[in-house]
C-alpha cells in the first residue's frame, strides 16, 4: 500500500504593503545579508493571496470558452 504524506504548508503573502520599503528592496536586503553570512538561499513556495485566486476564478468562470460560443 502506498502511504501518502500530508502536503507541506505553503507561505502566504502578507496583507497590504510594507510601510517603509518596497518588496524589491526587502528581497535585495535579504539576499545581501544572506551572502554576508555565507547562507545559501533555498526557495520556499509562496501562494498568491487567496482573494486574488477568488477573483481570477470568478472572472474565468464568467468568460465563455470560444467553442461554447460557437454552438
Amino acid at each position: 500500500m502506498r502511504i501518502r504524506s500530508k502536503p507541506f504548508r505553503t507561505l502566504k503573502t502578507p496583507v497590504g504593503k510594507p510601510d517603509h520599503f518596497t518588496v524589491e528592496q526587502a528581497d535585495a536586503a535579504v539576499l545581501a545579508v544572506m551572502a554576508e553570512r555565507g547562507e545559501t538561499p533555498v526557495l520556499d513556495s509562496v501562494e498568491e493571496p487567496a482573494y486574488l485566486d477568488l477573483r481570477r476564478g470568478r472572472s474565468q468562470s464568467r468568460r465563455k470558452p470560444v467553442e461554447d460560443a460557437r454552438r
Binding site: S5, K6, P7, F8, R9, T10, L11, K12, T13, P14, V15, G16, K17, P18, D19, H20, F21, V23, Q25, A26, D27, A28, A29, V30, L31, A32, V33, M34, E36, R37, E39, P41, V42, L43, D44, S45, V46, P49, A50, Y51, L54
Partner: protein, 213 residues
C-alpha cells in the same frame, strides 16, 4: 481575504514585548498563515474597535496574549484591551453563526493559572504559559497550527526556532540595508521582511533526483 488563512494577533505592542511579537509573527507566517493585527494598516478614519472587529471577522484563528494584564504604576488600574479583544473573538465564535463557529485560538499568559485571579471565566480554555520565552511562543503557535490544519504538515518547532534565531541575528543588518532601525519596523514592515526572508529559506532540504545510471 479568505478567513481560513488569517490569524488575528492580539498582544501588547510596546518595545519590551517586541521579541515576543517578532516570534508570534514569524511562527504564524512560517506555518503558512497570514498574520493580522490592528496595526496592519494605519487608517485614521477607521475607528479602532471597528478595525479590530473587521479583522476578527476576517480571521479563522487567533493568538491572544493576556500576559500584560497588570496594574499600571501610575493609575493602579489594569490595561484591559487584550482581554477585551479576546472576548470579542470568543463572542464571534459563539454568536457569529456558522461562518465563525469553527474559530480557534491560542491564549497565552505568563503563567498557566494566573488568569484565574483576574478573569476566572476563562476556566476551561487551554491557557499556555510562555514565561516571556520566544521558543515557547513558537512551539505553542506551531502545535496549535497543527491542530487547526491536521491535513497539512508544518516545520517542526525546533526547526522553526532555529530559523527564527537566524532571522533575528540577521535583522539588524536587514534593517540597516533599508535604512531603518529594527525597533522602528512597523507591523507591516516586520511581516513583509519575515515573508521575504522565509521565501529564501525553505526549511526542507531541496528534493534531489537520484543520479541516472
Amino acid at each position: 481575504m479568505l478567513a481560513a488563512e488569517s490569524v488575528f494577533i492580539n498582544c501588547p505592542f510596546d518595545l519590551e514585548y517586541r521579541p515576543l511579537l517578532r516570534a508570534l509573527v514569524f511562527s504564524v507566517q512560517d506555518c503558512g498563515f497570514v498574520a493580522r493585527s490592528a496595526l496592519e494598516r494605519d487608517d485614521g478614519s477607521e475607528v479602532r474597535i471597528e478595525k479590530i472587529r473587521r479583522i476578527i471577522g476576517e480571521s479563522a484563528f487567533g493568538v491572544h496574549d493576556i500576559s500584560r494584564t497588570e496594574l499600571d504604576a501610575d493609575t493602579a488600574l489594569p490595561r484591559f484591551n487584550m482581554p477585551l479583544e479576546l472576548g470579542l473573538f470568543l463572542g464571534a465564535k459563539y454568536f457569529g453563526g456558522a461562518g465563525h463557529a469553527r474559530k480557534s485560538c491560542v491564549i497565552f499568559d505568563r503563567e498557566r493559572y494566573r488568569y484565574q485571579t483576574f478573569c476566572s471565566d476563562l476556566a476551561g480554555h487551554d491557557i499556555r504559559a510562555h514565561g516571556g520565552a520566544e521558543d515557547e511562543v513558537i512551539r505553542a503557535v506551531r502545535n496549535a497550527a497543527q491542530t487547526w490544519m491536521p491535513d497539512r504538515s508544518f516545520p517542526g518547532a525546533r526547526t522553526m526556532f532555529d530559523r527564527y534565531s537566524r532571522f533575528v541575528q540577521s535583522l539588524p543588518r536587514l534593517a540597516s540595508r533599508i535604512a531603518l532601525d529594527p525597533d522602528e519596523l512597523t507591523f507591516s514592515d516586520l511581516s513583509f521582511l519575515i515573508a521575504r526572508w522565509l521565501r529564501r529559506n525553505n526549511p526542507r532540504p531541496p528534493f534531489r533526483k537520484p543520479a541516472a545510471g
